[in-house]
Amino acid sequence: MSGVRLLVGTRKGAFVLTSDGKRQDWMVEGPLFGGWEVFHVKASPADPKRIFASLSKGWFGQVIQRSDDGGKNWEPIGNEFAYGAGPGNHLWYDGSERPFEFTRIWQFHPSREDPDVVLAGAEDAAIFRSEDGGRNWDELTSLRASTGSGWQPGAGGLCLHTILSNPADPAQLRIAISAAGVFGSEDSGKNWKPMNRGLSSEYIPDPDAEIGHCVHRIANHPERPEVLFMQKHWDVMRSDDGGANWREISGNLPSDFGFAIGVHAHEPETVYVVPITSDSEHFPPEGRLRVYRSRTGGNEWEPLTSGLPQENCYVNVLRGAMSLDDLDPCGVYFGTTAGQVYASADDGDSWTEIVRDLPAVLSVEVQTLS
């Protein structure tokens, strides 16, 4: 029987939540790596027992751990992320120049074909590739070489937080950097170009600015990779041409600020967001935790509230903290900064709290197990 495994990264360790295909009863294991900030835990689609975990800590820097047995045993692997050729500096908050310095890995993107190949998105923003299962990492330097000298961090840091690839053409990549924007490559990362046309950000005076847009998350459906959905700082956006042009689809959302966005596994026009009140009030509007679903590819959104707290709820849902499984009906999962993880086994119609009182949830990834 099929099942699911949630890989949950938190401020103080990682947790593994498992269930069968019904997704009603859950087993919670953890913490793994107690005390470490775990920004991302991600399994390889090519080898579901291989899992990568990004641990970091202000005291001790970055540690990458890998499991080859589905999370039972872990070993530290390569944590040398050396910046290669390219601009030495990016812009700092005050407009001065500041050297690119590695802080942590925000996201892994393991290859669908080869379990030894994995991409990693870093803060300060850069993309690294490993071809030996994460033991050694090389920067794909042309990303920073393109426009990196003009990147300036947002409040969350200059982080490369999202990596998407096209299953039919793995050379086609789309990545997103907080406060820099979306960038695309058609040749496995040898060349990159900004893809932010149509984005509008009130803190950027030039409406045609090529970079500088605070993209919080992008998502797509693997069978229709040319359609991209974006939760920007403000605005929910959509592109129908692989990111070349964007248009707003915020429609009737109570707030178009937010962090997380996800696409249904079987319905490419069904999209999920969690509206957050504003950039200064990082909690749901009216203290009601609502996931909003559009079944029309945007603009028309319906609130999903059954099983979610509808009063006195002032949590946040961070950009990496939503994930969807491949089962039918589609399972939807998200974690909060107050340590709850919610699950829906019916496309979002109803929700249950799998676990509460974990440390603040940074990331949620679901694995559908056969």
């Binding site: 107690g34 005390g35 470490w36 800590k57 202000g58 005291w59 001790f60 820097g61 970055q62 540690v63 070993e75 530290p76 944590n79 040398e80 992320f81 050396a82 910046y83 590695f102």
Partner: protein
């Protein structure tokens, strides 16, 4: 043998007790000791010093015999009392918080 006392997080990561012993040939320096730690415990590579720059991580401190050697140059000599385990090199995670 040089005795090194590690902070709790690094002990857990390396699967060791409070103290480890490492061998350092020749003059005892921070670079030599950390090289030896990383050789014996590869999982600690990069946790005490930045692997790219070689700089001590800002919240790490090095104490020997009640003296702070955190800002000692990587190739400057540490106290000879470390030799033979008469004193301990303490790798300390600084307090940060309220």
């Amino acid at each position: 043998m040089i005795r090194v006392r590690l902070p709790e997080q690094l002990r857990t990561l390396a699967g060791v007790g409070k103290e480890v012993g490492v061998e350092v040939a020749g003059e005892i320096t921070l670079r030599g000791v950390i090289d030896a730690i990383e050789a014996s415990y590869p999982m600690l590579r990069g946790t005490i010093r930045d692997p790219a720059t070689g700089r001590r991580r800002p919240f790490i401190r090095f104490f020997v015999a009640e003296q702070d050697y955190s800002n000692l140059g990587p190739d400057d000599p540490l106290p000879t009392a470390l030799s033979g385990g008469r004193e301990v090199l303490m790798v300390v995670g600084a307090i940060a918080g309220g």
